[in-house]
């Protein structure tokens, strides 16, 4: 307990300072750099939210873009009716309800159903929205014109990101988070030790989905024009899974290691090879699954462990002498070991006589 508080106390002030510096960035960066920062922060928050659920319970969620899209579309539909902050609250509510419904139906039964359901959820939401737009509102796509510039988006995203990290940090130290880890290790054991498995999964799932929905809502003004194909883009789910896996799921800060290189990569790819983007991203993803199953965090942990392992000390020339000495000692031991003497031709007869004697006079036990 004490060590933990000490670590928190040491790490706390620099982190607060870091957040303060990050909060000042919009006034220091150029427009391009700011938009890059938005891109980065939105994915970082999504990935942290994803890892919060999937990293602990080990249930792969492919539904990120569904929730992101729900947030985005809520803003697009309500932007003319309400102030933006109120819409964010509504979006969070809708996200929570959707997550609850999905979770209650699928998480109770089996992990497989959850994955399948998530896989198609965003496609279904897209179809539903297209149908709604064509038949009910007779539009295809909406403009989000609102007084909410990139700086505001950035500050909101930063807030969400800090919130996501804080939630992840607290979760890792709470009974709920530890219960989720146990479930991820072995669900049967979790049930045996009295963890309410469906409740734990559901609670963390809803939390993570609300965060994703909020990211979508905050990013909506950034896109300006929104239609179902933009909002419910399966590539978002895909990228978030890649980033989380590349970073590794064991540590809270793993997503940072995944998001930074992949955003850099995707920026380059989109500029240099726009048509190859999906293929290359798929290949990168497969490479991670096959060769880096524990992510960058795994590599760092391995290196750290190697550093912490007791080292083989150099033995110098006396080492050889000791080896030679040990050899002599072994030879001496071999020579002086007790020996059975050869029995000669009387040996078998003696043995036979002994066996007969034993038969007559059984050995006392």
């Amino acid at each position: 307990m004490r060590a933990r508080t000490a670590a928190t106390a040491i790490a706390g002030p620099p982190l607060v300072l870091l957040v303060a510096i990050l909060a000042c960035l919009p006034w220091l960066l150029s427009d391009y750099e700011l938009s890059l920062a938005l891109h980065l922060l939105s994915y970082l928050t999504l990935t942290v939210a994803w890892a919060m659920f999937s990293g602990t319970t080990r249930l792969v969620s492919l539904a990120t873009s569904a929730f992101f899209g729900v947030g985005m579309y809520t803003v697009a539909m309500l932007v003319k009716l309400m102030p933006l902050e109120a819409i964010f609250a509504v979006a969070a509510g809708i996200g929570a309800v959707l997550a609850l419904v999905v979770g209650i139906v699928t998480l109770r039964i089996s992990g497989m159903f959850f994955v399948i359901f998530g896989f198609g959820l965003s496609e279904m939401m897209r179809q539903l929205m297209v149908w709604w737009e064509i038949n009910k509102t007779f539009t295809m796509g909406r403009y989000v014109r609102v007084n909410f510039d990139n700086t505001m988006i950035y500050e909101h995203l930063l807030g969400l990101c800090v919130l996501a990290f804080a939630a992840g940090f607290l979760l890792r130290r709470s009974r709920l988070g530890i219960a989720a880890l146990v479930i991820g290790e072995d669900e049967t054991v979790a049930r045996q030790v009295g963890i309410d498995v469906p409740f734990v999964k559901l609670a963390i799932f809803v939390l993570s989905c609300v965060l994703m929905t909020l990211v979508g809502a905050v990013m909506a003004p950034r896109f300006g024009f929104i239609n179902p194909n933009i909002a419910f883009n399966p590539l978002i789910s895909f990228q978030v899974v890649i980033m989380a896996l590349l970073g590794g799921l064991k540590r809270l800060w793993g997503p940072i290691l995944g998001v930074l290189p992949l955003i850099a990569l995707s920026e380059t790819l989109e500029v240099e090879f726009p048509f190859w983007y999906s293929i290359l991203l798929g290949l990168v993803f497969m490479a991670i699954v096959y060769f880096l199953p524990r992510g960058a965090v795994g590599l760092i942990d391995d290196a750290w462990e190697r550093l912490g392992r007791p080292m083989e000390l150099p033995r110098g020339y006396t080492g050889w002498l000791r080896d030679a000495g040990a050899g002599v000692a072994r030879a001496w031991a071999w020579l002086s070991r007790p020996r059975t003497l050869p029995g000669g031709f009387t040996g078998p007869i003696e043995g036979w006589a002994k066996r007969q004697w034993r038969r007559l006079v059984p050995e006392e036990r």
Partner: protein, 291 residues
């Protein structure tokens, strides 16, 4: 009204036959080879494009293009199993871990294949006119290509059923579906058989893709929808249960057909999901699930 309903239901059965074929292929991969292949629908898309190009460029009937796309997809899927899935099978500790890892790996494969197809064929919708003439069945009219697709889907389904129930090979496959460890103990080459089952599933989806292309317009992004439907049907019918896939596939076809008649044709996936949910709530192990 009643007549109309019958017409819609028959139309649904015709569509459902195709879904059943897609699902049976998926069931071979998931139920027997134990691989959750999210890139499954991409092979359907590939076969559809193969049929499209052979028809428009070479004026070859799509039915003949089956002779090309089915063996090619069979071989491609065998290679996928042999070189991409086998390492995961080897390193997985248990079935759950294997499912998780194959989902991830094939999710990557999905984007590779779809990206390649978009690059090669562009994202445009494609359509070609083959046997669009109407046929009359029981006094109702249907497009000839749909009926042909249904007939061929039935033929493929019966072939699979005969192989599974009447041959030693099929018996080995069924043993694999029930218990891979036990199958190994009685001397079945689990890895080789799994590879063949996986490839067979791929061959079926290629056949389905060719048939789909005769009556639906398609683009490189079409695969994911069919993968979804296959997953839904397989889970509904019970994993490893071919008869379950057949019934659930027909059910899905009829439900979709009713939906597009009474509501809107753009809501098919929503219907699939609704059906999936109802079945899951009533019978969490699937319609034909036993455990």
């Amino acid at each position: 009204m009643a007549m109309q309903l019958i017409e819609v239901v028959i139309g649904g059965v015709i569509l459902g036959g195709l879904y059943a074929l897609v699902a049976i292929g998926f069931n071979l991969q998931y139920g027997m080879a134990r691989i959750v292949n999210l890139a499954y629908g991409e092979f359907l898309m590939g076969a559809a494009f193969a049929a499209f190009w052979t028809f428009t460029l070479l004026a070859v009937s799509p039915i003949l293009s089956l002779a090309l796309s089915v063996p090619v997809t069979f071989a491609a899927n065998w290679l996928v199993y042999r070189y991409l899935m086998a390492p995961l099978v080897r390193r997985a500790r248990d079935r759950e871990q294997l499912e998780g890892e194959t989902i991830l790996a094939t999710f990557g494969l999905l984007f590779v294949l779809r990206g390649a197809a978009t690059l090669a064929f562009s994202a445009n919708n494609r359509y070609y006119d083959y046997l669009g003439a109407p046929v009359r069945i029981l006094g109702f009219t249907y497009a000839a290509n749909r009926v042909l697709a249904f007939a061929l889907a039935c033929a493929f389904g019966v072939a699979v059923w005969l192989i599974l129930t009447r041959t030693r090979f099929g018996a080995a496959l069924r043993a694999l579906a029930i218990d891979p460890v036990g199958a190994r103990l009685v001397g079945i080459d689990v890895r080789g058989m799994s590879a063949l089952a996986f490839a067979g599933g791929g061959a079926l989806v290629a056949a389905a893709g060719t048939l789909v292309s005769t009556f639906l317009s398609f683009n490189p992004a079409i695969g994911i929808e069919f993968t979804m439907k296959a997953l839904v049907v397989v889970i509904m019918g019970g994993v490893g249960k071919m008869m379950g896939s057949l019934v659930a596939g027909l059910l899905l076809g009829v439900a979709e057909s009713l939906c597009s008649f009474y509501l809107d044709s753009g809501l098919t996936l929503a219907v699939a999901y609704a059906l999936f949910l109802v079945v899951l709530i009533l019978r969490p192990r699937g319609l034909f699930g036993t455990r």
